[in-house]
């Protein structure tokens, strides 16, 4: 024994343990279980690899600049993805134009204003009501008073509602778009109708993402501005919102990557277009342009019996997946570049 004891002291006799230490032994059930969970993980990843490689193998041969530049055709050798690409671009512009402002505004309200105590405002409104205002003004104040009273319940309802909306199957949004935009508003089955439907579809996703980004900004930033005399709105607009913006944009891009791959709601709203039109890239024309989109074109080709259409469907999928990849990379870069640790 190597000890640091003073010379001359006999080494201490150890007390006996009840039995010698057990040597390491193999536990087959342990190993089996470890291999099992590892294997299940590997199978999942292998399926993903199989998916991507089968698409790439099938579609790579059909990929070319001509494929991206050509319009659709009933001849698979001439058919191109150009109309689908243009359609998807216009769809995304419309979707973001409508979903982003509403989604971010809703998030700002829910996260920064709705939860503030209503007591002070309520007292002030009461005081003014008591101070002898009359007519329209008094009516308005009464409306405000009742709003302040029901506000907490409404906010709770909105909360529950948003999380439920995020779980509604996307095809249901298609039915909503079909009945409202096409049926009631009379918009033709067009890119505009499709874009509006996708906007409704990603609205809850944007609200949830924007709320998370706003929540990540420490309250001290807001309080610091308010301590300098800013109103809450000024503090939120000038301090909190800019700080949360990278996070909001990241969430927005991820929501768009959900929208750009959606197929079912577009079919329900716009049907499947067999035409060979090339839609204009100007979103103001979207109300008159037939509903083209990458996933719709892919679906149309996949549904054709000829094998050569399967190949260009695969090529279309490669383009769609590449687009998604780019969008996700942008989101990741944005997050890493601007994410601050508070």
């Amino acid at each position: 024994m190597t000890t640091l004891e003073a010379p001359g002291t006999p080494p201490p006799p150890p007390a006996a343990a009840t039995r010698p230490l057990a040597r390491k032994r193999s536990r087959p059930s342990e190993q089996l279980f470890k291999w099992l969970v590892m294997g299940l993980t590997a199978i999942t990843i292998a399926m993903l690899i199989w998916l991507i490689s089968s698409v790439v193998i099938k579609g790579a041969g059909s990929l070319s600049w001509a494929f991206l530049a050509d319009k659709p055709s009933s001849n698979p050798d001439k058919a191109g993805f150009n109309s689908a690409l243009r359609g998807s671009v216009v769809l995304m512009i419309i979707t973001i134009f409508f979903a982003w402002p509403i989604g971010v505004a809703a998030a700002l309200y829910l996260e920064k204003f709705a939860t503030q105590s209503a007591e002070a405002s309520e007292r002030k409104v009461r005081e003014r009501l008591g101070s002898g205002v009359s007519g329209v003004h008094a009516g308005w104040l009464r409306v405000r008073l009742s709003w302040l009273r029901v506000r907490p319940r409404v906010v709770h309802l909105v909360d529950v509602n948003i999380s439920n909306l995020a779980a509604v199957p996307s095809i249901i949004y298609g039915l909503l778009g079909l009945a409202i935009f096409v049926g009631i508003l009379g918009i033709s089955k067009s890119l505009l109708a499709g874009g509006l439907t996708l906007a409704v579809l990603i609205l809850p996703i944007i609200i949830i993402a924007a709320r998370e980004a706003l929540r990540a900004v420490p309250i001290s930033i807001e309080q610091g501005a308010m301590a300098l005399g800013a109103t809450r709105w000024q503090a939120v607009r000038s301090q909190v919102f800019p700080a949360a913006l990278p996070g909001i944009l990241t969430g927005t891009i991820l929501a768009m990557s959900r929208a750009i791959g959606e197929t079912a709601p577009l079919i329900v709203v716009g049907g499947i277009v067999f035409g060979t039109a090339v839609p204009s890239l100007n979103p103001l024309d979207a109300g008159n342009e037939a509903l083209f989109a990458m996933p719709l074109q892919i679906y149309f080709w996949t549904d054709q019996p000829q094998a050569s259409f399967q190949a260009i469907a695969a090529a279309g999928i490669i383009v769609l997946l590449a687009t998604l990849l780019v969008m996700n990379l942008v989101a990741i870069i944005l997050r890493n570049r601007y994410s601050k640790r508070w």
Binding site: M1, T2, T3, L4, E5, A6, T9, P10, P11, P12, P13, P14, A15, A16, A17, T18, R19, P20, L21, A22, R23, K24, R25, R27
Partner: protein, 303 residues
């Protein structure tokens, strides 16, 4: 007890049977072998060592957490490890049943002899070892199961038949039986913090280990619950070797037979590392500490 280094054959019986008074046959030996601390004189009140730490060191990744700890831990007695926070008390304790194996990046060097065998040796089975050297943690950590299932869990894991008598005995030993005997099927989370901690001790006792390690078992508890646990420690010390990490010197003085004092030593580049300053009987450490750092700590000048 023999002077032989080989494990004592008489100890093949259950540890409970071993009488551990200051036996006349117990030879003079040094308990302390800490660096810098001179080996003490004969300490007849402490039994032979069950653990012998030899130049124990622990690294977490690139940080050296503990260096050069050498000490003996006597069998069927309470050894307290005290010292300022960050001195590596818990780290040292967690080496004794190889809990550090579970920490990614942790490396342990040196030797820990358990009954004369190095338990750090790579061919020793850590799972089996932990069944013999139980552990109770700082925060009560009952499983989300019933009180009874909590006790039976460890028994089943170690191949002990979970009979009602054994469950009762463990709870009696942990001084919890009277409080829970009518509600064994209740969720363990329904117990108070102090009760949960005693349940965790009962859970450890039920496995019939030889040693129970306790990592600041009372730090999350109120004074009354703390006293209950201290009493229970003293009661079970006849049957189990207890090694208790505590930051509470009064507690160490109240319960322990042997005290190890660890401290922090500055290294180059501002890094700090835990070392053993002194080890001795509780009386020695608290009345006549040899190491100036120990004296400074226990008189309240540091830490």
């Amino acid at each position: 007890m023999t002077t032989n280094v080989e494990p004592d054959t008489t100890a093949d019986d259950a540890p409970i049977e071993i009488q551990l008074s200051a036996g006349a046959a117990t030879p003079t030996h040094a308990v302390a072998a800490g660096q810098g601390a001179a080996a003490g004189p004969a300490q007849p009140e402490l039994g032979p060592p069950i653990f012998q730490l030899r130049d124990l060191g622990v690294w977490y990744g690139k940080n050296e957490a503990v260096r050069g700890v050498s000490m003996d831990i006597p069998k069927n007695a309470i050894t307290a490890i005290i010292g300022p926070s960050g001195c590596g008390k818990s780290t040292t304790l967690r080496c004794l049943n190889r809990m550090n194996d579970l920490v990614p990046g942790a490396r342990v060097n040196g030797e820990i002899l358990f009954g004369g065998e190095d338990l750090l040796s790579s061919d020793v089975d850590p799972v089996d070892l932990r069944g013999r050297i139980g552990m109770v943690f700082q925060k009560p950590s009952p499983f989300p199961k019933s009180i009874k299932d909590n006790i039976e869990f460890g028994m089943k894991v170690n191949g002990i038949k979970p009979t009602a008598e054994r469950v009762e005995q463990a709870l009696v030993d942990a001084a919890l039986w009277d409080e829970v005997k009518d509600r064994l099927k209740d969720e363990a989370f329904s117990l108070s913090g102090g009760q949960q901690q005693r349940l965790c001790i009962a859970r450890a006792i039920a496995v019939e280990p030889e040693v129970i390690l306790m990592d600041e078992p009372c730090s999350a508890l109120d004074p009354i619950a703390t006293l209950a646990i201290e009493d229970l420690m003293k009661n079970i010390a006849e049957r189990f070797t207890l090694v208790v990490v505590t930051h509470n010197m009064q507690q160490a003085a109240r319960i322990s037979d042997q005290v190890a004092f660890m401290t922090v030593e500055g290294k180059a580049e501002g890094e700090r590392c835990g070392v053993l300053a002194e080890v001795g009987t509780a009386r020695e450490i608290f009345s006549a500490p040899k190491d100036p750092r120990t004296e400074a700590y226990i008189t309240g000048r540091v830490g």
